[in-house]
């Protein structure tokens, strides 16, 4: 009787071992499946993010909020006075612009004929060189970002002059 009982227990152990091994194999399978899947989702996310960054950068230079217009005709430049006023409007209507820009910041830096690190606003203009347009920094991601930039023509309407600037789009991870 004792021998039969032992044999039964061994049988039970065997069965449990088989179940555990099957469980481990399934777990490993799921782990690799998810690794692969998450990897592919990350890749898609990065591709979409890069695509979006490039599209946004191209688009930002042409939105009515900042683009030069002379007699209802758009010109291929950014209006310095419009950028200063757009900053305030965007800040007041942040919910609207978050849909478009998300966790990013957008600014224009004056690079030619002179650089100037002073931030532009209604009081410092035109003796300034950093035009901040939008800022929505993700908490904890201040140092985790990717930048994209293009050169733009910056128009000072009261002087009738064009200067060279750099439109910088910073995306927070």
């Amino acid at each position: 009787m004792l021998r039969s009982s032992k044999r039964g227990q061994i049988g039970l152990m065997e069965l449990l071992m088989v179940i555990v091994i099957i469980g481990i194999i399934i777990a490993i399978g799921i782990y690799f499946f998810y690794q692969g899947f998450i990897g592919s989702v990350k890749k898609t996310g990065e591709e979409l993010s890069m695509q979006e960054r490039e599209v946004l950068l191209g688009m930002l230079g042409r939105i009515p909020e900042v683009r030069c217009s002379i007699g209802s005709r758009d010109e291929n430049c950014l209006d310095a006075l419009k950028i200063i006023n757009a900053r305030e409007t965007i800040e007041d209507n942040k919910a609207y612009y978050i849909n478009l820009l998300g966790f990013r910041s957008v600014k224009v830096e004056l690079i030619y004929p002179e650089r100037n690190s002073k931030e532009c606003n209604a009081n410092t203009y035109p003796d300034c060189g950093i035009f901040k347009l939008y800022e929505n920094i993700k908490t904890g991601s201040e140092n985790m970002h990717q930048d994209a930039s293009i050169l733009v023509s910056l128009y000072y309407p009261e002087q009738g002059k064009y200067k060279v600037g750099k439109l910088v789009l910073r995306e927070y991870k």
């Binding site: 009787m1 039969s4 009982s5 032992k6 044999r7 039964g8 227990q9 049988g11 039970l12 069965l15 179940i19 099957i22 399934i26 799921i30 499946f33 899947f37 989702v41 898609t44 979409l48 695509q51 979006e52 599209v55 946004l56 191209g58 688009m59 042409r62 939105i63 009515p64 909020e65 683009r67 217009s69 002379i70 007699g71 209802s72 758009d74 209006d79 006075l81 419009k82 200063i84 006023n85 757009a86 305030e88 409007t89 209507n93 609207y96 612009y97 849909n99 478009l100 209604a122 203009y125 309407p157 009261e158 009738g160």
Partner: protein, 359 residues
Amino acid sequence: MFSHYTISIDIVSKVYIIYQYNDDVMIKKKGTSEAFKYLLVLFAGITILIFFIRFAWQASGLIRDVKAVDIRETLNDYFNALSSAEDLVTTANINSRVYVNQPDCGKISIGIRRTISNAAEYSHIIFSPAILNERMFVWTKEWNYPFRVGNFFYLISPDTKIFLVGNSKLIDELTGIRKANGACCENSNYIDPRFKVEKKYSVDANFIRDKAKEYNKVIFIFFGEQATTVTGIENARLRSINAIDCEDEKDEEECRGTISFGNNKQSFFAGRPMLYAAIFSEDYQNYECGFGMAKKRLKLVSDIYNGKKMMLERLMPSCSKYGFSIEANYNSLESMYGNMKSLRQSNYDIGGVECAKVF
């Protein structure tokens, strides 16, 4: 052989089978009986099966969600990229269903198989049917009032037909009617042929019923006349438009008028791009949603120009032409149109070396 037997199962799952041979009772205790093994295997099998079904279900849901986000973001990028175009028609293959303004105005959802993804907010001004399937035509056109405010997007399914009912120069221009010499639509802002817009002098209820059977969706726009009353046709949309100064020789901003969607639902349009919006909208709700977003953008851009005007006033004190105010006024067609005209004139009047134009 067996007179009788009993099986007892205790709570720790040990099974004892007691065989009774005539007078002899033999108790054969199997440490773990075959029956228990079967039960255990059955239980484990069912558990694993349930796990796999659940896993497959969740994985399929996750893949679907990722695909929906992918489509939605690509569509958003697509609109962003097109939003800087002045006037452009293109075709978009979306390989899924797009629900515009569902569940609320300003939201887009993607339908894959039988499920609809979580809606995402968008800020583009879209006039379209409520549901677009697989493929759509996209037309984007900028709206100036009097300065550039933003782009309108008109989306339409290839299986939609539009009839412009009436006989006017405007309808000829919109549909691109050929002249007797064969030349088509010289200097005319006619609607792209892909949008299947056709002119009809008049239509009756039978014609509407016939066309409703022929096309998946059919829109009848009655120009300058009351829309024919036809009930019980689900896929036909009827509305009437009264347009003023919309012909090609006039400025686009001059074009204005009223739209009646039936059931006492009326609205107005300001600018030629908004006339197109009245034509391509699915219904009153879709039109009002797009119109509301257009007004919002008009307000934002007006605020920026007003700020710019005030700064110019300060930076150029010798110029005395900045005494006007730039405010978005869109309570009625008259106030919106009047405001636009006065702004345009005020800006036009700014001149000379001591002044810079606001827009």
